[in-house]
Amino acid sequence: MNKTIITMGLAATGLLAFAGSTQAATLQDVQDAGELRCGVSNGLPGFSQPDSSGNWAGIDVDTCRAVAAAVLGDADAVEFIPLTAAERFTALQSGEIDVLSRNTTWTTTRDASLGLNFTGTNYYDGQGFLIKTALGVDSAYDLDGAAVCTQAGTTTELNLADFFRANDMEYEAVVFDTSEASAQGFDNNRCDVLTSDTSQLAALKTQLTDPDSAEILPEIISKEPLGPVVRQGDDEWFNVVKWVLFGQINAEEYGITSDNVEEMESSDNPSVQRIVGTSGNMGEILGLDDDFMVDVISQVGNYGEMFERNVGPDTPLGLNRGNNALWTDGGILYAPPFR
């Protein structure tokens, strides 16, 4: 991810100014304002990108819409604030945004030292390799001596160095400024391999002159759990954002979709009843309406719908569920129970 050294330095400065600071009652503030302010990326396919009519679309965008639906009953009551990688944490710390949903990797440093809390994972990503099929290489362990296109100043570059050193292989880094530029370099044969997060490799692959001439290698060399982030110290708001995502994952597990959510309100299954709010008081204890998940599911959908709509096999990105499948389907999505 675009975690630059500068970010860390600035964020550390931010820490000094904000040590122990809390901005309580974000939930109340959002309800008073009638609008959720959500920080997103400035154009990342499948995650947050303006569509042809100028509306934000993507899985990160839908994560925010789901929170807005839960808190305000209206998935469109979101003000999206595009942020660069460098300014994303400051914007959250200074209260410019209420939630950051900008394909941000969950790491110890960020969680522990920036005054932030990661509320969960809305996409399990990992760094991979895109390679020209003509080279006949089918494993990342055969890449000794390869020229690798990558982006400057990102963890991608560091992971790459770690991987090659750990496996005692040589490589030549061809460094570019942006991911699009690195894809162009790969397309023009400046390098043999392109490395980035696999979700982005899928998007970059569609930009090649001949997308079929390249393939993604099976090895994943880093863990990149991406998820929404909130300020530390406001546990009520932290719980809300956390349980909206858990609610969407649970909804998929129990087969509640935007199409059948109304029928599900008369379901006999107690687990389903707790999600749609016909039994229990899950909404109340979170500070929301009891049927908040009905708003979320009917307006945004469950996790699976969100995935299929933005990055799934039927979208140009064409990603399979993989790790992002439910634990019951061989993935690692496992939400604590709604109880």
Partner: protein
């Protein structure tokens, strides 16, 4: 007696006139020039023909979606489909007449130097352009009063944002710049010192650093819960930066005025402000029109730097959509479109400044 009957004049030999003469004189004056012409001509043709074919002849201008595009040829449908976004960013579609109206007013305020209007009308239009227009334009675009629906600045974008940044930067920086230039030539050491420090500080820092500070560092030093608009922060940064440059341009003009003018103004018994306003500044500003135009054009292009603080100006808006996987590689089209827009505006400004120069020209030196 035989009268002398001169022959009618013969036309010059075919090699000494028209196109052929021009070719001989300019392209084939010696065998080595001829060779260079042929080689360069060959490469130009081999490059230009495919380029023109890519951009115009074979390109796809109308159609529906990515499927209508031809591989290896420009696909302008992409630009067409996103045109509204490139122009207005996230500005709500139903309200886009408001910025359009604001820019129509802007155009009206800019045109008068090209029309034969009486001086007084021209002057009031200019005053409107510098005072009424920014206020009226802001109300139109931002809304929130007179029953206009409020549109948050985070939704502003595209060419509209580029023009707003440039326009505000220019009209706010000019007066500050003039004041700084006068201050720097002041005889009062405190004022002079402040102006010198201000100018040298802002000129010594790259604009990108200022924008970065305004967007990333400033919020950390503000009190808890106080946020102030990102666009406003960027505008203030750009204005102060621009003012420092403007100050030095204007100072150049002040120094070019002969000392006799200053003395003559003093001899008339005018006070400092009237001396400046009536005698010195009108002459100085006239001299530096090309310098101001230069600064303005470079500011217009510098506004693209707001990309790094996540504002969607024209370049930012185009860039954010280039990686859209629904479209195959449309980078060249996108960037060409941006380049074309910038060229149109910068060339326009350049011609405009020439026009103003001519209009103000009262040169007695020739």
């Amino acid at each position: 007696m035989a009268t002398h009957q001169p022959l009618p004049n013969q036309p010059a030999p075919v090699t000494q006139r028209g196109v052929i003469r021009w070719l001989r004189a300019n392209l084939f004056s010696s065998w080595i020039n001829g060779l260079v012409t042929l080689v360069v001509g060959y490469y130009l043709l081999t490059m230009l023909i495919p380029l023109i074919d890519w951009a115009f002849i074979g390109a796809v201008f109308t159609g529906d979606g990515v499927d209508a595009c031809r591989p290896g040829k420009a696909c302008w449908i992409f630009v067409e489909e996103r045109f509204g976004f490139f122009m207005y960013g996230f500005y709500p579609e139903a309200l886009r007449w408001r910025p359009t109206l604001a820019f129509a007013l802007f155009a009206l305020a800019v045109v008068p130097p090209f029309l034969p209007l009486p001086g007084r009308l021209r002057r009031s239009v200019a005053i409107f352009g510098l005072t009424g227009l920014p206020v009226g334009g802001y109300i139109l675009i931002a809304g929130g009063v007179f029953g206009l629906e409020s549109v948050d600045t985070s939704q502003w974008g595209g060419l509209m944002l580029t023009l707003i940044l440039a326009y505000v930067g220019i009209i706010a920086a000019l007066p500050i710049g003039v004041a700084l230039a006068l201050g720097r030539r002041s005889e009062m050491p405190v004022i002079r010192g402040i102006c010198v420090i201000f100018i040298e500080f802002w000129r010594a820092v790259p604009l990108i650093t200022i924008l970065f500070m305004a967007s990333v560092m400033l919020p950390l030093f503000l009190p808890e819960g106080v946020t102030f608009d990102k666009l406003m922060r960027a505008l203030i940064g750009i204005t102060l930066f621009q003012a420092a440059y403007m100050a030095e341009v204007v100072r150049g003009g002040l120094q070019a005025i002969p000392k006799g003018q200053y003395e003559a103004a003093e001899a008339l018994g005018l006070g400092y402000w009237r001396r400046m306003r009536l005698i010195i500044l009108p002459q100085a500003l006239k001299i530096v029109v090309p310098g101001i135009a230069n600064t303005v054009i470079s500011l217009f292009k510098d506004t693209t730097l707001v990309l790094i603080i996540g504002l969607f100006d024209l370049l930012g808006a185009v860039k954010s959509t280039l990686s859209d996987p629904a479209w195959n590689n449309v980078m060249a089209e996108g960037y060409l479109f941006v380049a074309f827009c910038f060229w149109v505006f910068c060339f326009g400004m350049s011609r405009y400044s020439h026009r103003i120069e001519k209009q103000l020209d009262t040169d007695h030196r020739q």
